[in-house]
């Protein structure tokens, strides 16, 4: 599964994109976030404030409890500040 990081999440983690196989037992976005946060101290710092981080599954906004299903792409980002 492709994982994308944007804005300060990308900076804190150190890369924009990663490909991972969710470990057995990981079925939701929240569970995958727990797993990603455990990968390195940088990941842990980046994910420290979960409430400031939004997610999109296959480019559609999805809350933490959303099942991963057959999705190909999960993106993590802070709230939007365009316009």
């Amino acid at each position: 599964m492709k994982i994308l990081y944007f804005a300060w999440l990308r900076e804190r983690i150190g890369h924009a994109e990663a490909t991972i196989d969710p470990p057995a037992g990981v079925t939701t976005i929240a569970e995958l976030t727990e797993y990603l946060a455990s990968l390195s101290p940088a990941h842990q710092r980046a994910f420290a404030n979960r409430s400031a981080i939004k997610t999109a599954l296959d480019q559609v906004f999805a809350p933490p409890e959303t099942p991963l299903g057959d999705a190909q792409e999960l993106a993590y980002f802070p709230p939007f500040t365009g316009g």
């Binding site: 994308l4 944007f6 804005a7 300060w8 999109a56 480019q59 559609v60 993106a75 980002f77 802070p78 709230p79 939007f80 500040t81 365009g82 316009g83």
Partner: protein
């Protein structure tokens, strides 16, 4: 047909507005420009990061919502990406209608929603060399939420 353009290229407002329905009766437009300062500190540049693919889909959804909610003949969103210096155009939102009320309201809706509902992130670089990510503003969220239908 509502149209959405996302990319680094600048746009000419006159040319862009001329692509909306010529016999509309009314065209309302908003153009966002990079400010020279942020919190009273001189700005060197604003860099706009976005999520290619999701951005276009999100903007198209906002434009489609405006088309169904107001009596519009056409609407247009242009949003630039990448590094932009003070004075540069960032965004254009425009709506064409037979009636000015619909055009003005729909244009305001477009700009209010694209600030909060399309995946863009602004990064400020100051003239003193420091830089920061722009924090979301509560006032922008309120401006968005006033358009939610009961």
């Amino acid at each position: 047909m509502p149209r959405v353009i996302v990319g680094p290229a600048d746009f000419d407002p006159g040319t862009a507005l001329a692509t909306l329905e010529a016999d509309a009766g009314a065209i309302a437009s908003f153009i966002g420009i990079v400010r020279g300062t942020a919190d009273n500190r001189p700005l060197a540049a604003l860099t706009l990061e976005h999520y290619p693919g999701m951005t276009e889909q999100a903007l198209a959804r906002i434009a489609d919502t405006a088309m169904t909610r107001w009596r519009l003949l056409d609407c247009l969103i242009i949003h630039r990406t990448g590094r932009l210096e003070p004075g540069a155009r960032i965004v254009l939102a425009a709506a064409a209608s037979a009636h000015r009320g619909d055009a003005i309201e729909a244009m305001t809706f477009l700009i209010d929603w694209l600030k909060t509902d399309a995946p863009f992130w602004k990064h400020e670089t100051f003239r003193d060399g420091t830089a920061r990510w722009v924090a979301p503003r509560e006032t922008d969220q309120h401006a968005r939420d006033r358009w939610i239908e009961p």
